[in-house]
C-alpha cells in the first residue's frame, strides 16, 4: 500500500481516538516508520499489522474499524488535494461509481506501483445497482461499505448498502447492492 493509505489510517486513528492511541498501536504493531511518505509503496503486511494492532488496542471489530476508515477515506483524500479528481469522476454517485476504474487509471499515472481494484456497475432495478468489486487484496470488503457511505454523503444522495455476495472460490468478486432511498 502507498504511504498515502497508511497516513490516512494514522490521521483517522489520531482524529478519532487521539495521538496516544496511535502511539500505542504503532508500538503494538512492531516496526512502523515514524513518518509515511505518501508516494512510497510500503509492504501490505505493514498496513494489515497496523489495522490488526488497532483492533486489539481499541477493542473494536475489524469490520467496524475498516468501514469507519472507508467513510473517512473520502473526506481525507479530498483534504489531501484529490477533491478535483473526485469532482471530474462524476457529477453524481452512480456516474462516479461507473468512473471508478477511470479514476484509478488516472491515479496510477502518479502512483506507478498502484495495484488498484476494479469495479463494475450492473443495474439491479429501479434506483438500485449492484457494484462488483474485484481486488487482489483480501478482507477489505467492509472498507468498501464505508467508502460507499462516504460517497453518499459527498454527493448528498442517501443510500442503503448491503453486501450480497462475498468473494470465494466460486465467486471471484464481492457484490454490494446500493439502493437510493
Amino acid at each position: 500500500m502507498y504511504g498515502l493509505v497508511n497516513k490516512g489510517i494514522e490521521q483517522f486513528i489520531v482524529a478519532r481516538y487521539g495521538a496516544p492511541a496511535w502511539q500505542r498501536i504503532t508500538e503494538r504493531a512492531g516496526e512502523v516508520p515514524e513518518v509515511f511518505i505518501s508516494m512510497e509503496a510500503y509492504p501490505d503486511p505493514l498496513t494489515y499489522s497496523l489495522v490488526g494492532a488497532a483492533v486489539e488496542e481499541l477493542s473494536v471489530g475489524a469490520a467496524e474499524l475498516l468501514e469507519a476508515f472507508g467513510e473517512y477515506w473520502i473526506l481525507y483524500t479530498a483534504e489531501q488535494g484529490y477533491g478535483g479528481l473526485l469532482e471530474v469522476s462524476g457529477a453524481n454517485l452512480e456516474e462516479f461509481l461507473r468512473n471508478l476504474d477511470s479514476l484509478h487509471a488516472r491515479v496510477a499515472l502518479t502512483y506507478t506501483e498502484l495495484r488498484p481494484p476494479s469495479f463494475k456497475v450492473v443495474a439491479a432495478g429501479e434506483r438500485c445497482v449492484d457494484l462488483h468489486y474485484h481486488s487482489g487484496r483480501e478482507g477489505l470488503a467492509p472498507m468498501m461499505i464505508g467508502l460507499l457511505k462516504g460517497l453518499s454523503k459527498r454527493f448528498d444522495e442517501p443510500i442503503e448498502v448491503e453486501q450480497t455476495s462475498a468473494r470465494s472460490q466460486d465467486a471471484p468478486y464481492d457484490v454490494f447492492r446500493v439502493t437510493w432511498v
Binding site: 504511504g3 498515502l4 497516513k7 515514524e34 513518518v35 509515511f36 511518505i37 505518501s38 508516494m39 512510497e40 489531501q80 488535494g81 484529490y82 478535483g84 479528481l85 469532482e87 471530474v88 488516472r106 491515479v107 499515472l109 502518479t110 502512483y111
Partner: protein, 665 residues
Amino acid sequence: MTATRGLPPSAVLEVFPFHLWLDEHLRLVQAGPVIHRLFPDLCEGDPVFAHFQILRPECPADAQALREHAKQHMVIEARATGLRLRGQILPIDDGSLVFLGSPWVTEVDELGRWGLSIADFAIHNPVADQLFLIRSIRATLDDTRKLAARVEDHRKRLLASQQRIDLHLRHTPLAVIDWDQAGRVAAWNPAAERIFAIAEAAAIGRDPSILRLIELPDEPRVGTTLKLVGATEESTVLLAHDIAGRSPTLCEWYNTPLVDASGQTIGVASIVRDVTDNLRTERALREAQKLESLGRLAGGLAHDFNNLLVALMGDADLALMKLRADTGAAAHIEQILVHAERAAELTRQLLDFSGHGAYRTQTVDLNEILRETSSLLAATIPRHVSVALRLGERIPPIDADISQLRQIAINLIINGAEAIGDAGGRIELRTRFEVLDAPLDDPLLRGGPLAPGPYVCFEVVDDGRGMAPDALAHVFDPFFSTKFVGRGLGLAPIVGIVKGHGAGVRVSSKLGAGTRFELWFPALAVPASAQAEQAEQATALGKRRVLIVDDEPAVRNMAVGVIEAMGYEVVAAAAGDAALALFDADPHGFDLVLTDLTMPGLDGHELFAELTDRDPRLPVILSSGYSHQRIAAYPDGRPATFLQKPYRARSLMETINAELERRAS
C-alpha cells in the same frame, strides 16, 4: 497517408475548451466554451490582442509574424485577469489562425483563483494529471521534510543524551569499563583510571590481566577470576587488586553481557565500585561489636565477682574487729584481705576493659600528667628512642582518673618504643584543645561517637614501622600483639578506659610510616583545682536505724554485720519492692537506706525515686559494681550518694556516717 478528415465544429469546442480562432485581421471568429465563460466581454469580431498580450515568443501581434512563429511555444496573458494560456498558433489555409492551448497553472488550489475546475479541462489534456502529480510530489516533499525534521530532532536528542551519558561517565565515582567480545577493554572512564591507576590510553585494547587480581586468604568473599569471554549472565563479584603503592584495593564488580538486537553477545559492561574503605569500616565495626560483647561478658563476671568480694572482705573486716590484733588468726585474716584486694584489682582491670571500670575521677591537668609520666618512663625507654613533649598551651582540665590516664600514656609510649625497635626513632606526646562543631562519628573511632563540644586531644605519634591494615584492625583486641607476648590485655583496656571517661580513641598507621593514636577527652570549663581533702569520718552518731537492700545474700549479710558492728539497728530486704513495703509500714522508722542498683523487680533507681518522693530528706546510698551506674544527682536535682563495689567495711562505715552527719546538719 495524409489526413482526409477534419473535426466537426462541435468536437473542436469539446476537445479544445480554451481555443481562440482568429481571422486574418486577428479578430475573434470563435472561442472555446470555457474562454467565453472566463471572459464574457470577449465577443466575435473583437480584436483578440486587445484582450490578450503575447508574452512568448517575442513578436508583434500581426498575422504574418504569428504565422512565422507557428512552430513555437506561445504564451498569452489576459489583460483583464492576468490568466496565462500556453499553447501554439496553428495557421489555417483560409488565412485564419487558431490558438490551441490551456491555462498555465501549477497547483490544483490555483484553479479556483481563476474560476476554473478540473472538469474544465478536456479529458485528454494531461494538465489535470500533471497537477495531481505535482500535488503528490509536493505532499511527498512535505512528508520528507517532516521526516527530516524528526530525524534532526532525534539526532539532537541523541546527542544531548550522549552528552549526558558522557558527563555521567566522566564524573561518576564508579568505574565503567566495556569489554569487547574478545575480553579486551573497549571503554575505560576516568573513575577506572583513578581506581586502577591506569590511563585510558594504556587500558584500551588490554585484557583483564591489567587488573592485577590477587587472592586475600583472610577475606573469603574475594573471588579470583573475572569471566568476560562467553559470559551470558549478569554477575557480581568482589575482587582484590594489587595496585602499585597501595594496600590491596577491594572492588565490587557488576558485569552485564551486552547483547545486540540479533541476540549476539558483543561484550560485557562492568560497573566497578571501590569498596576498600567500606569493607575496612565494616570490619572495624564488626570488631567493635565483638569487643563490646566480650566487654559485656567481662563486666557481668566482674559484677558478680565483686559481690562475692564485698561479702568476703566485709566478713574478714568483721572478724578482725572481733579478734584481738595479737592473735595468730588476725594475721591470716589480714592476708585474706590482701589477697581479696588483689582479686578486686583483677576485677577492676576486667571492668576497665569492659568500659565499666571504677574510676576515681577528679579535675586533672593532662599536660602535667604527661610530663610526670614521660619523666618516670625515661629510665625504662631504650636510649635510641626519644620521647618529646609538644603540649598545647592553656589546655583546659579534664575529669579523669589519674592512674588510668597514666596507664594509657605508659601503654602507648611503650607500644611506640617497641614499634620503633632497634633502629631508633622518636615518640611525640602532643596535646591540643579542640572544639567539635559536629558529632565525631568515625567508624574507626572507638568509644565514639563524640558529641559536639570542647575536647582535650591527646596524641601519641611514633615514627616506627607502622602497621598493615590487618594488624591495625586488631590493635585493640585483648592479647593482640605483633611483636611480643605476655602483655596481658595489651592495648585493649585503653578502649574501656576511654569509654569510661566519655572519651574516644582512634588509631591510624601505615606500614613503614609510623602510628598515631588520638584520644579525645571532654574538656572541663572550670580550671583545675586542688583535690579536695577527704575528711575522716566519725565512728557512730548514736542510735540509728538503717535499711539495707541487696538481692545478693552475701553482700546483704556482710553489710548487715558491718552496720550492726557500728552499733546501728539494721533491717534487710532482698528486693526493692520488699524494701518499699517495709518503709511504708514505718515511714519515720529509718534514718538511712543503702541499696544495690541492679536488682530484679523494683531496681535501685526506682526505689530511690519512690523513697525520696515520700521523704525528700532521707539519705539514700546507691551501690553498684558498675562505675557507669555512678550517679551524683538525678536529673530532677535530687542528690544521690554512690558507693562503688567492692567496698571495705571501713568505706561503708565512712559513707554511712557522712550521710547521717549531712542529714543532721
